[in-house]
Symmetry: C2
Subunit: 218 residues, 2 copies
């Protein structure tokens, strides 16, 4: 029976592991906004639970069990986000904080029912994959908008980060998941993208924003 706090640590390590299998105590402490001794102490406890490998002065690494458990929490998180968005009409910028709490609810029945009501979705409202009941994650293979050449037409499929600020910004620009973007021109000076939307309006996106958008070519 993992506690809420430990579940959050597990998820943090799970995400940090995507970039690099090994996770340093310092990275973990930063992600969790706690002191290094706190992260260190927690790492030891999680080792005792069999969720990760811990050796003094070495980075930690999830065990198979830890990885699976982490994925299952992510599953609950993303199913919840999908439910909040599809069934309860929340905007994609509102769902994360609530899901951060609901992901800790202890009832498989509850999440299975969500899953069923949603028709067994594979992606969350931000385009991230929902791990299956065994913790297996579908590998999606999107392109980064920043790498697309002028003249190309793409569809927005996911986000590199789903920060509220980014989501609100995209709302304002009338860009949402599934939106079709035509790259008209890339400004040499600052690498900003001039983009034509479906509604025939033209918008400008900074290179930084383009780095956050995952697309597929049409």
């Amino acid at each position: 029976m993992p506690t809420q706090t430990k579940e959050n640590y597990l998820k943090a390590i799970y995400f940090l592991s995507q970039e690099n299998i090994d996770v340093s105590i310092t990275e973990l402490s930063k992600k969790m906004n706690v002191s290094k001794p706190t992260a260190n102490n927690m790492a030891k406890k999680m080792q005792e639970k069999g969720w990760l490998f811990y050796e003094k002065y070495k980075p930690v690494k999830l065990t198979i069990k830890g990885k699976r458990l982490g994925a299952l929490i992510v599953r609950k998180h993303r199913l919840t986000e999908m439910f909040l968005s599809q069934v309860m009409s929340f905007g994609w910028e509102e769902v994360h904080d609530i899901a951060e709490e609901i992901e800790h609810i202890n009832s498989n029945l509850f999440f299975d029912r969500m899953d069923e009501i949603l028709g067994f979705p594979t992606l969350d409202p931000h385009g991230s994959p929902i791990p299956d009941k065994n913790g297996k994650v579908l590998k999606v293979n999107y392109l980064n908008l920043s790498t697309i050449k002028p003249g190309q037409k793409v569809r927005l499929c996911g986000l590199e980060n789903s920060s509220k600020d980014l989501l609100l910004f995209l709302n304002k620009k009338k860009i949402k998941l599934g939106s079709v973007l035509s790259i008209l021109h890339i400004e040499k000076f600052d690498n900003s993208f001039e983009i034509l939307l479906e509604n025939n309006s033209t918008i400008l996106l900074t290179f930084d924003v383009c780095l956050s958008l995952l697309v597929e070519e049409l």
Copy 2:
């Protein structure tokens, strides 16, 4: 920002207060399944929060603030039960345990949305009133089935206790909220009730079960 544990204590005191405004430490400790020192200690802490009056060797009593807060947690609990039952198709015997966790979610938006989707219900799936956003509770005035005379026809409107066992028993007997019951006969020997249901089947209910059923006369 009340913690989950303290919210559960608050709710416990809130319910114990319905029967008797004053609540003893022993009652509280029993309801919460903790030792008396634990309950005592918690009572002191809740006093510091301004949720209750506490004086050594005296029973505790909720403050206005405590009563309101307690009612708001009950509101979240019952809205959740209603949502689980109406929107997510859970049986009335399945909703309590999940609601016991979800009631602690920290998002007014979440519960307001539930409320809206449900069409602002006033009763939960067990017939208990849902406190309003100010913590005000509608006073329902049902009769106890045990007090009804033979020949009378009544509608089931609520339950004195919503234990899972009772709910499963009622499921088996095909009795649900709104069911119409005609009292055919009361056995003098054991006070058992012979009852005719809408589907024309006749069932027998012990006096104890009748004590748990709240009805209105038709």
